[in-house]
């Protein structure tokens, strides 16, 4: 008798099972793992992209090389000064001619048939003057990396 009584007595609703929670979180996790790309570089220059309206979206991320131009971040300012600098991969370039070598290095890593489709995305701080940008463009022409993209952010609508 007492055997049966024990069960029916004190308990209310059973605790909510949280067993499916990990599944949900894993699903989210996989989503992020699939949709995102690892951030490959550590930015050493400050880049505030200018705004533009008539923009095109870069579709194949694997076929894009990035060149950053802007003043060094506060951490590196003592070393590089406040003048705009060119960052290639993780390094700040000391000479503009390094751009050519950088592009060629990137090319060597790629499938030869993709090379014509590679875009070089210039992420330039809006306060930079065009001199340094023209210099980089000149270097890109030298190595035949002709497809470029002036990276911008979407224009915010002003009311």
């Amino acid at each position: 008798m007492s055997k049966f009584k024990k069960d029916s007595g004190q308990k209310g609703a059973p605790g909510v099972s949280t067993a499916s929670l990990p599944d949900i979180v894993f699903m989210l996790l996989f989503f992020f793992m699939v949709t995102t790309v690892m951030r490959e570089t550590d930015l050493k220059v400050d880049v505030k992209k200018p705004e533009a309206e008539a923009v095109t979206r870069l579709e194949k991320k694997s076929l894009v090389d990035y060149i950053y131009i802007g003043p060094a971040t506060t951490k590196y300012r003592s070393q590089y000064g406040a003048e705009p600098r060119i960052q290639l991969d993780d390094q700040i370039a000391t000479q503009a001619t390094e751009v050519g070598g950088f592009i060629q290095r990137k090319r060597a890593e790629r499938d030869p048939k993709d090379i014509d489709f590679v875009t070089t995305s210039l992420k330039v701080d809006e306060k930079t003057t065009m001199g340094i940008v023209s210099r980089v463009k000149h270097e890109l022409r030298e190595v035949d990396a002709l497809k470029i993209n002036y990276s911008t952010s979407k224009k915010r609508v002003k009311n």
Partner: protein, 238 residues
Amino acid sequence: MARRKIEEINAGSMADIAFLLLIFFLVTTTMDTDEGIVRTLPQKLPPDYKMEVEINARDVFEVLVNANDQLLVENEYIQIDQLKEKTKEFLTNPSNREGLPIMEEITVERCKEEISRRKEAQEKAEPSLQGILKAEIAEWEDKLAAAEKVGPFKTLPKLAIISLRNDNGTSYKMYVQVQDALQGAINDLRNEWSQRVYQENFTDWSSSKDEDKDKIKIIRAIVPQRIAEQEPKNIPAY
């Protein structure tokens, strides 16, 4: 005696572990899609190269930006917000104004004629010219496809270009604004055409989708994009 039921494994901490991983990925990854203005730089030319073709002054839309971010368009000071309209006028020349390019009439017959003429020339041409002829044939074939789709249309003459020159002191922000206005003008005209022909926006199409590729080709043949970025005279050392 009945066997004891095996107790359920507590999976509560699994969620924590998964969350940890999730947060790691959230932090280390970038979500932002890279957007911007796409341009193709002119090819590097041999140092002794001389342009053989003479370009009519009316076929060049000259945009200059100086070190003070002032804009000189066709020898006239204008404000940045006027640039888009000016560019559109150059690209279409609606009222046949003097000083703007004379639009070329493209018909199916004309395209066929041009293609056959070039194909004939191709048979006799030297290898150095083959590439140019091939590109020209491809260009006329696109125009032919466009003319078949939309009927006769008017387009920019072959040599008409937008020439953009900046100074070393021009700010990048201004430069992008100028590029944006030029691109905006072209996009607007292309959207007008694609709305008329397909009831869709050109800017919504993607070149990576097969069904859009032909449509893009046709609209591009009608409204070509020819923006030449001139190199400033002395580029500073770095």
